[in-house]
């Protein structure tokens, strides 16, 4: 997600598009990225820590973006 204060022309354009389709209830749109990473880790916490590290290093740019991480556990394939 773009940080607060960072211009988000894409979000604005989407809001404009929605408005012109009649969705005037939409007050604000922020446009960001969503990455789904599959990785195997002994437990969820480890996976989350790795993800956090990757987000800091590569996936997000702290100058302009913030991020949140969600973990979904899948049973290992047998």
């Amino acid at each position: 997600m773009p940080k607060i204060g960072v211009n988000d022309p894409e979000g604005e354009a989407i809001r404009g598009g929605l408005q012109s389709l009649g969705y005037t209830v939409v007050e604000r749109v922020r446009a960001g990225r969503h990455y789904r990473l599959h990785l195997s880790a002994p437990e969820a916490d480890v996976a989350r820590a790795t993800a956090e590290e990757m987000a800091h290093k590569l996936l997000a740019n702290p100058v302009i973006q913030t991020f949140v991480i969600e973990t979904v556990i899948e049973a290992p394939e047998v």
Partner: protein, 234 residues
């Protein structure tokens, strides 16, 4: 130190040949291509990070290139005061690598723009501008989708105080107006430098304005500055 200019090719760079040609054909300067896997830049006098779509511009422009093997050597080179110029995608790589402040966002219009624009020179004390005059207007091509310079206000103020704003978008007469700021950059910024002035990044393409038959050779003035700078330094 050899006298070669080096142009780094990342996977997906596509302005590398143009940068090479501008030095080789436009200035008859010695220039070599550098593979992104090289780890030693001690043999070069100046380094150019060319335009293009390194790693497909995926994630964010320049974000993946920042971790290319050559980047550690580049940091060392810049740290030692070597002249580094990032053009378009190269500028994006330099910001992602924190060699330059700020970031480059999607153009305000959300569209790619290819056109000739004017920029005004604001700081002539960098390695890449000292052959230019303050207030001089250059007419150069731009071609990018993500060129809106962003930094928070405190950073921008600091950069202005330090003289790190090198170029701004302007009208043909040099006036900086909202209309001339076609991509929505903060304070019309088209190019910046680090505090020391040896690392410069810019969105316009001086290497594409290197032969009068293509419009003009304004861009050569920027590239030539580094050669002069080195002559003075050495």
């Amino acid at each position: 130190m050899s006298s070669h200019i080096g142009v780094i090719t990342f996977p997906g760079s596509n302005g590398d040949q143009d940068s090479f040609d501008a030095f080789a054909l436009g200035l008859r300067a010695p220039v070599r291509m550098i593979d992104y896997r090289e780890t030693d830049l001690s043999d070069y006098a100046a380094i150019v990070l060319p335009g293009g779509f390194s790693y497909g511009d995926h994630l964010r422009c320049g974000a993946i290139a920042r971790f290319a093997p050559v980047m550690d050597a580049l940091k060392a080179f810049a740290g030692a005061g070597g002249p580094v110029l990032g053009l378009c995608n190269g500028f994006q790589v330099l910001t992602e690598a924190h060699l330059l402040p700020g970031a480059l966002l999607r153009n305000q219009s959300l569209q790619f723009h290819c056109r000739w624009i004017d920029i005004v020179v604001e700081n002539t004390r960098t390695a890449w501008t000292h052959e230019l005059a303050e207030g001089e207007v250059l007419n150069l091509p731009v071609a990018h989708g993500d060129g809106a310079f962003f930094a928070d206000d405190a950073t921008l103020d600091r950069m202005e105080q330090n003289g790190q704003i090198v170029f701004r978008y302007c009208e043909p007469d040099g006036k900086v107006t909202p209309d001339a700021n076609f991509n929505g950059s903060a304070r019309s910024i088209a190019g910046i430098s680090n505090e020391r002035g040896n690392v410069v990044g810019m969105m316009p393409h001086p290497e594409r304005a290197a032969d009068p038959i293509l419009g003009n050779d304004d861009g050569l003035k920027i590239l030539r500055s580094a050669l002069e700078f080195l002559r003075v330094e050495v």
